[in-house]
């Protein structure tokens, strides 16, 4: 009896092995393990066996039933996986087609540079302020120690509105607005558009500046130097050489211009990057700060110039032509 059981097992396994589909497996399951299967027949005959054989045969028959059942299940799983893989691999999607895609947006390079600069100063604890484009003579000139007949007015080719107001020629009026609105200490930067009525290949009537102002007790010129060296090294690279050169602005004293050395293959040249200085005591008087108690430094730089250096742009007019093929590059 046991032999016939083993025979059933082996024959069944052979058949299961040759199954081609999960449907085959289901069929084989009922064929080998169903009520009319040879195994069922053996189990049915057990009561007719001698008592000592009954348990042996019965136990073995059950074992085989378990084994076959597991075997079929396993075969079915294998076949299922194969079928899934087969059907998936016949997917006709062309994955090389361009996807459904929104275009890449882009920030104007002026925005990118402005944000870079603001981020560096925010690490030093400066907050960002804005001021109006249309200014009164007081904020743009008078309070900055540029009275009406001051020679420095010749440095500013000013646009006037018909109502006698000016389009600000620099972002420095924001200094005045800030100081008039709050007590020292002050630590601000102010990015924005400025206007000069000289347009040629290298000048645009509208361009962008960032102004910075730090006022507190005991600030020194060496603080100005350290701050701007930190800033320029962060912006342009720690290896850059920086020099401070004497200059003149009516609202700072001493005044400097700051040059950065740029090296190309076999020559190096100094490029003027920004202006700075210690706040003129007359400016403090205009904003009712006590010039004997407080000192401060201010600085300003042209954003276009930085963008032109960083991105190697050779024509300032590209910024305002606003061709998307230009802006998309940044």
């Amino acid at each position: 009896m046991l032999e016939s059981l083993e025979k059933i097992k082996n024959e069944s396994i052979n058949d299961i092995q040759s199954a081609q589909s999960t449907a085959d497996c289901d069929q084989l399951k009922s064929f080998f393990l169903g009520k009319k299967s040879p195994l069922a027949a053996v189990l049915k005959d057990i009561p007719s066996l001698p008592v000592e054989q009954r348990s042996v045969v019965g136990k073995r028959a059950n074992e085989i039933k378990q084994e076959l059942s597991a075997y079929i299940q396993e075969k079915k799983q294998t076949l299922h996986t194969q079928q899934l893989e087969h059907s998936l691999s016949h997917d006709s999607t062309d994955t090389s087609l361009p996807p459904f895609k929104i275009r890449n947006g882009a920030f104007h390079p002026i925005t990118s540079i402005t944000r870079d600069i603001c981020d560096i100063f925010s690490r030093l604890g400066y907050s960002v302020k804005q001021g109006p484009n249309v200014e009164s003579d007081f904020y743009n000139f008078e309070a900055l120690n540029i009275p009406e007949h001051h020679p420095a007015r010749a440095m500013h080719d000013t646009f006037y509105l018909k109502n006698k107001q000016v389009l600000r020629t620099h972002t420095s009026p924001v200094q005045i607005r800030e100081m008039l609105s709050k007590k020292p200490p002050v630590k601000i930067i102010a990015p924005g558009k400025v206007y000069r009525c000289d347009a040629d290949v290298s000048h645009s009537p509208v361009f962008h500046q960032i102004e910075g102002l730090c006022v507190d007790k005991g600030l020194t010129f060496s603080d100005l130097k350290g701050t701007l060296e930190f800033f320029l090294h962060e912006l342009l690279g720690p290896e850059k050489n920086i020099r401070f050169r004497s200059s003149y602005f009516p609202f700072t004293e001493p005044s400097v211009e700051i040059d950065v050395e740029f090296k190309s293959k076999n020559k190096s040249s100094w490029m003027e990057i920004m202006g700075a200085g210690m706040v003129q005591r007359k400016v403090f008087k205009h904003v009712n700060y006590n010039a004997d108690d407080f000192t401060g430094f201010a600085f300003g730089l042209g954003i276009e110039r930085i963008a032109m250096i960083k991105y190697q742009i050779d024509d300032i007019r590209l910024f305002y032509e606003n061709d998307s093929r230009f802006i998309q590059q940044f």
Binding site: L97, P98, F100, K101, I102, R103, G105, A106, F107, H108, T111, G125, S127, V128, K129, Q130, P132, N133, H149, P151, A152, A154, M155, F159, L161, K162, L167, P185, K193, C197, A199, P205, V206, C214, D216, G218, L219, T220, F221, S222, D223, K225, G226, E229, R243, F244, R245, S246, S247, Y248, E253, P254, M278, K282, Y320, E321, N322, D323, S324, I327
Partner: protein, 791 residues
């Protein structure tokens, strides 16, 4: 301003090369913009006298000359036409090099040996083109080193003089500055005039406070001598054309001292009564450049009798111009205040060597010295007689005549700079610059009185001359807590980010537009307020009332270049009713989607840019934490009559979004549907966003019910929705649309809308019957209130 290196070198020993000197000047605030090297190749040119001229045996156009250099005679063949025996000329002998770089060799011309070359001005490097040989004055010594004699080799430093450094607008002033920088000793020419008791009838009267000092000298019997070569050359090197001795001397003194002088021809002055007046519109004069000029109010004039004879400080008039025959002059040396000259020069549109010096300020206390120096030179070079009756018209009370001093505290200066300079070295430095320090007081030299106004100016002098390198670099040690960035700035950044991340390109446009473009956009502005008084072009003449014209220009630029997809954003300023606002502007024409094999998304956006922008704006609004009220009434002038919406919060209008009316966009050659929106961030920032707050959500299942209905086309979704909101059951948590179509079956005036509602309760699973009942009640209400049939 141009400065001759060799001239400077004659005033103080310079060991620096022109390049090194330029570097030092630049660092000290006298920025050298360029160095022009003159006669770099020239070598060995000398002077000679033509002893004889004989014909060339083999050539008609050549002659054979014999030239003596004082020691030897040289046979030189030349083709020159303008020479005659006895002329003194520059000559270049074998071994010397002329301006072109050619080295002279002994040569034979048509069979006759020639030992050198007679030189023209071109060969000497002083002009680009010249005719004939340079005939030198008859008193020129023979055999001199002509390169040095005629200053053929030099470096011209072009220096940008800062507005506060009027004192450096002269060779003497610059030399003083160089002495302080290099530590060398300055030696200026001694000025002394021997004057004679000669009477004249001149009188001077200043009627303007803008002329606190006027010095007049009468100088007569001036010989008609030519200007010496060295003076001519120095004038030329500094960019001034030599004219005649009298004019050249005044110009030379201008270069030396920085004081503009003017010589009036005595013979042309009838009344000898000189007055300085502020002009009225009646006055006019013809200046030396032959321009007839009508005077403007407030220009300063010099009059002789009642006739204007000079635009003070700028240019003289033809009526009293000195000529080659002039033998007597009235020499003016005066101080005019900087701003009157700046104003006058601006009004007449005329800037001269003279006006540019007065504008930055001349040294009032050396005006007399300049007058003496000119008299001395005329005496030396033209054997002139100088009258000792000098007229000085002076306002002694003027601010500039007062001496000025400031406290001097080296500790204060050092702690301001953060430096550690030694007191003695600072004192030496300042003394070289003309300051005197005594008892903790520093007195300011007259030529710096306008510039040096407070002690930080002294700190600047120290810093710039000791070098900024000598100051350490530190960071402020105090910790300053600063304000948070303004809400407007945060909104600006967030909305820029949002649009760029959704495929938009950020623009940066000029806030000025043309008047025409404003009209084309059917916008209006108050030109008396926002028109520019001095625009550089009609395209940039008005501050814009909206970003629309700027955007239309940029889109037009793109469509002319076959770039039809324009998804642009900018936060910029617009100007209305005395108010400048920051506005978020955005536009869409074409599609923000790239081309794909299935063009659905692309074409949806392309055909309905308005709807596309609507969806973006709604997402932005949610992200910023606001909820706008939309209104669909009364389109703006640039709006499409139907596709537009206004948005507001409370009673604050924030902006609008619309399809640009095709009659407007077509004026800019834009022929595709274009949607444009603007949102005032300035106004939005005045409203506090709804703060975020947790709301409990239900853990019980939800159930959906639909309303499919047929309505007239004129009934808007918004209206249906507002009715649903009125009559809905409280357990409705979401409402949306899932279907919209028109068909023949519905008829031409109707549309079908499918709306879903999600019912959900916070505390229990809703029973179907309850939902059905609530939903039915809603449907009944809708049918009752609206022209609506449930399908």
């Amino acid at each position: 301003m141009k400065f001759s290196y060799s001239w400077l070198k004659s005033l103080l020993p310079l060991t620096e090369s022109p390049e090194d000197l330029a570097e030092k000047l630049t660092m000290a605030g006298l920025e050298v913009e360029s160095i022009d090297s003159i006669g770099t190749c020239i070598e060995g040119i000398t002077t000679g006298k033509i002893e004889s001229i004989s014909p060339h045996p083999n050539a008609d156009k050549l002659v054979i000359t014999s030239v003596s250099d004082g020691k030897n005679s040289h046979q030189i063949v030349t083709g020159a036409k303008n020479i005659s025996v006895g002329d003194i000329i520059p000559v270049s002998l074998p071994g010397s090099v002329v301006a072109s770089g050619m080295k002279l060799k002994q040569t034979a011309l048509r069979g006759v040996d020639s030992f050198g070359m007679l030189c023209s001005e071109t060969e000497c490097g002083i002009t680009d083109e010249s005719e004939g040989i340079w005939i030198l004055p008859s008193d020129t010594p023979l055999g001199v080193d002509f390169v040095e004699y005629a200053i053929l080799k030099d470096s011209i430093l072009d220096i940008a003089i800062l507005p506060n450094r009027g004192d450096c607008q002269s060779i003497w002033g610059l030399a003083r500055e160089i002495a302080a920088i290099t530590g060398e000793t300055l030696s200026l020419p001694k000025v002394s005039v021997s004057s004679t008791d000669i009477k004249h009838s001149y009188s001077v009267q200043s009627q303007s406070s803008h002329c606190p000092l006027y010095i007049g000298r009468y100088i007569s019997s001036i010989n008609k001598a030519p200007t010496p070569l060295w003076m001519k050359r120095r004038l030329e090197l500094c960019g001034i054309r030599p004219i005649s001795l009298i004019v050249d001397v005044t110009n030379y003194v201008l270069l030396e001292t920085g004081h503009p002088l003017h010589a009036f021809d005595d013979a042309k002055c009838a009344s000898k009564s000189i007055s300085i007046i502020e002009s009225t519109k009646k006055h006019s004069l013809t200046t030396l450049d032959s321009q007839k000029r009508s005077c403007q109010e407030g220009q300063l004039l010099i009059c002789e009798g009642n006739t204007p004879v000079a635009l003070a400080g700028i240019m003289g008039a033809e009526n009293t111009e000195v000529s080659p025959d002039t033998s007597a002059i009235f020499l003016e040396a005066a101080y005019f205040t900087p701003h009157i000259i700046r104003r006058s020069a601006t009004l007449s549109g005329l800037r001269t060597d003279s006006s540019s010096r007065f504008e930055k300020g001349t040294n009032i206390e050396t005006t007399e010295l300049a007058s003496q120096r000119a008299a001395m030179l005329l005496q030396e070079l033209g054997q002139a007689t100088v009258s000792n009756h000098v007229i000085t018209c002076k306002d002694n009370t003027h601010e500039l005549f007062k001496s000025k001093s400031l406290p001097f505290d080296i500790n204060q200066l050092n702690s301001f700079l953060g430096s550690n300079h030694n007191e003695n070295s600072i004192k030496t430095l300042l003394t070289t610059l003309g300051f005197t320090i005594k008892n903790k007081q520093i007195s300011i030299p007259s030529w710096r009185r306008e510039d040096i106004s407070d002690w930080p100016c002294i700190a600047e002098e120290i810093a710039r001359l000791k070098g900024f390198d000598s100051i350490p670099s530190t960071l402020p040690t105090q910790h300053i807590i600063q304000d948070q960035d303004s809400l407007e700035l945060t909104l600006t950044r967030s909305s820029e980010d949002f649009f760029v991340h959704n495929g938009f390109t950020q623009l940066n446009t000029y806030p000025m537009v043309s008047e025409d473009d404003i009209k084309h956009c059917k916008l209006s502005t108050d030109l008396s307020q926002y028109g520019l008084a001095n625009p550089i072009s009609p395209e940039l003449a008005v501050l814009r009332p909206s970003l629309l014209p700027s955007f239309l220009r940029i889109i037009s630029h793109h469509s002319a270049r076959q770039q039809h997809d324009c998804a642009f954003v900018e936060v910029g300023s617009h100007f209305n009713d005395n108010n400048e606002e920051h506005v978020l502007a955005f536009c869409l024409t074409g599609s923000p989607y790239e081309n794909t094999a299935s063009p659905d998304q692309r074409s949806i956006a392309e055909n309905s840019p308005f709807i596309h922008l609507q969806s973006l704006l709604q997402r932005l609004e949610a992200q910023l934490g606001y909820s706008f009220t939309l209104s669909f009434d009364s389109p703006d002038s640039w709006h499409h009559p139907v596709q537009f919406q206004h948005f507001s919060i409370g009673n604050i209008n924030l902006g609008s979004l619309a399809l640009v009316h095709p009659s407007i966009s077509s004026q800019f050659n834009i022929h595709h549907p274009l949607a444009f929106g603007h949102l005032s961030l300035t106004r939005l920032a005045s409203i506090v966003a709804t703060p975020k707050q947790y709301r409990h959500f239900s853990s019980f299942p939800s159930t959906r019910r639909d309303i499919a209905c047929c309505v007239p086309k004129s009934l808007s979704y918004a209206e249906i929705l507002s009715h649903i909101h009125t009559y809905k059951h409280k357990s409705v948590v979401d409402i949306g649309i899932f279907d919209l179509f028109e068909s023949e079956k519905l008829g031409p005036d109707n549309k079908s809308i499918g709306i879903y509602l999600i019912y959900q309760d916070l505390k229990q699973t809703l029973a179907d019957e309850k939902v059905n009942k609530a939903h039915q009640r809603l449907c009944d209400q809708l049918v009752k209130q609206l022209p609506l049939t449930i399908r």
